[in-house]
Amino acid sequence: MNHDLILQARGVTRRFGGLVANDAIDADIRRGEILGLIGPNGAGKSTFFNLLAGALPPSAGSIRFEGRDIGALPATRRCALGIARTYQVPRSFESMTVVENVMIGAFVRHPRPAAARRAALETLEFTGLSRQADTPTRQLTPPEKRRLEVARALATRPALLLLDEVLTGLTPGEARLGVELIRRVRDAGVTVVMVEHVMEVLMPLVDRALVLHLGRVLAEGAPREVVRDPGVIAAYLGDRHRAA
């Protein structure tokens, strides 16, 4: 068992009826890295992401987290083991305040509300949302809701954080703040996997990139190598990047 790997996927396959969305994917996630999960539309990124998070069970293959097979575990159990996720379209608890949203995550480690509240407020400080702690969630701006998604997931004290397009649709200034937050999360010891469309933002941020295409792994490696890969260029990046 390689202890530098926090997660190993072997032969992970997911079918939807006749469609094979993920076809025998092998992937390693190294402890402490930021891994970018990229690929053109329909590549199977979201499916693979959901398989890692436990929103879907795999049709075949194994997913080992910290050496333990978690393929059959529901999202609730994976969360307790240390895997947290965000949603591309924020799924805030709209009837609650910001701090209450984060408390839901914190309850995984702190069953008592007072302790959960303290932990949630610390997480809000870490993610730069302290001033909004008592704001009703529905009053947040879209970038603030994205940040809340991250805060809520972090409050579960994950070892592995799965980010679903947290930087998409942000202004350059907001995206910069997001990048800064993700770096700080990694520096706090959390392994990060992010699905992202915005290559310009993603590539400088990630340590490695995993490129999916038509449900298979097309390339894997350092961002600089991946963008030079002819197969990747053909499948995804297009002529715009060939000159570079």
Partner: protein
């Protein structure tokens, strides 16, 4: 397990404890307000002597307790049950049958009925909580109707003619007060206070937060470690238990049960409407709703003709429509100058700064 702790600076911890303290103070204030409200209500028999009005007070307190009990599942947890008459009926029938048939005092009978209703709710919930939204509501109606039909044809429970409580002397032991119904006011008030207190306690517990998360977004809740089915089952069991307590008490109050007087769909609606009118998922909404709705129904029934005319029901419908159009969150959310201390009071955001 290498679970990291995000670093926390010293200053936020201070701010955090400040906010937590303010929250604790709001909670204590609610408790004080409740003590004052229930204390004043306990004095009502000193002021109101008219037997008819006292009857209205008992019913109002009873429906306030029922609506609050429904609120646990329907309001906090967001699972709109339209079949709570079943649990009401189970409580009423269990208490009646145990007392009339076996001589078990109603105090124990209501607990047995409560336990039975809670078990029933767990079984029904296990099957029906896979259904979402309207489908769940429809299933609860159907199951409650099945209960009504079953009891109608169940001779051991008296079939369609029901169970008549024997006439006996006024006694706290048997919960029978034929001449002066004042004690019923205090029992109903006690039931309401108990239900309120349970809601207050749960609001700041992990279950309470989990229920609201389940209501708002079950998928997200699941990804954050919330056991969604377990949360719903817990809410259903507590809600059914308290509803059955009220049913058992109601049976003692009217000294008579039959299928149509405790298991009819009408009761399911009467349990839900005060909560909807006052504001679901709140501590005070169901009480406020019952305080408006129940006297209004009783008076309209007395002064606008018997229940056969249906005028009281039209009044109900009109009120609910008005609330749905004007204040869908319920009357408790109206901005009154003497606002009750609710912790969900919107506060100005300070995020607009450039």
């Amino acid at each position: 397990m290498p679970l990291v702790s995000p670093p926390a600076a010293a200053s936020p911890a201070a701010a955090a404890t400040g906010a937590a303290r303010a929250f604790g103070e709001r909670r204590r204030l609610q408790l004080l307000v409740a003590a004052a409200v229930f204390g004043l209500l306990a004095l009502l028999p000193l002021v109101v002597h008219n037997a008819y009005l006292r009857n209205v007070i008992v019913l109002t307190l009873l429906y306030a307790a029922l609506a609050q009990a429904w609120n646990i599942l329907g309001g906090y947890c967001g699972q709109i049950s339209l079949g709570h008459a079943l649990y009401f009926g189970v409580g009423a029938y269990a208490t009646s049958q145990l007392f009339v048939g076996f001589g078990v005092l109603p105090w124990f009978g209501v607990l047995a009925g409560g336990g039975l209703a809670a078990l029933l709710a767990l079984g029904i919930g296990y099957g029906c909580f896979r259904l979402k939204g309207h489908y769940f509501s429809i299933a609860t109606i159907v199951i409650a109707e099945m209960g009504l039909l079953l009891v109608h044809n169940w001779n051991w429970l008296g079939g369609a003619s029901g169970i008549q409580w024997p006439f006996g002397g006024d006694s706290w032991a048997t919960l029978q007060f034929a001449r002066d119904k004042t004690p019923y006011i205090h029992v109903a008030l006690g039931l309401l206070a108990l239900t309120w207190l349970i809601c207050w306690r749960i609001e700041d517990s992990r279950w309470g937060y989990w229920w609201r998360a389940v209501k708002d977004n079950p998928e997200a809740a699941e990804s954050l470690g919330v056991t969604v089915l377990g949360s719903k089952l817990a809410a259903a069991a507590i809600s059914a238990f308290l509803t059955a307590l009220a049913g058992g008490f109601y049976a003692a109050f009217v000294s008579y049960v039959d299928p149509d007087s405790v298991l009819h769909f009408r009761f399911s609606l009467l349990i839900v409407l005060p909560a909807v009118l006052g504001g679901i998922g709140t501590l005070w909404g169901p009480m406020l709703g019952a305080a408006i709705l129940i006297p209004l129904t009783e008076f309209s029934r007395s002064y606008l003709g018997g229940s056969g005319s249906g005028l009281d029901l039209m009044l109900y419908g009109g009120l609910v429509m008005a609330v749905a159009l004007l204040k869908p969150e319920g009357l408790i959310r109206l901005r009154l100058p003497l606002r009750l201390p609710g912790r969900r009071a919107p506060r100005p955001t300070r995020t607009e700064a450039p």
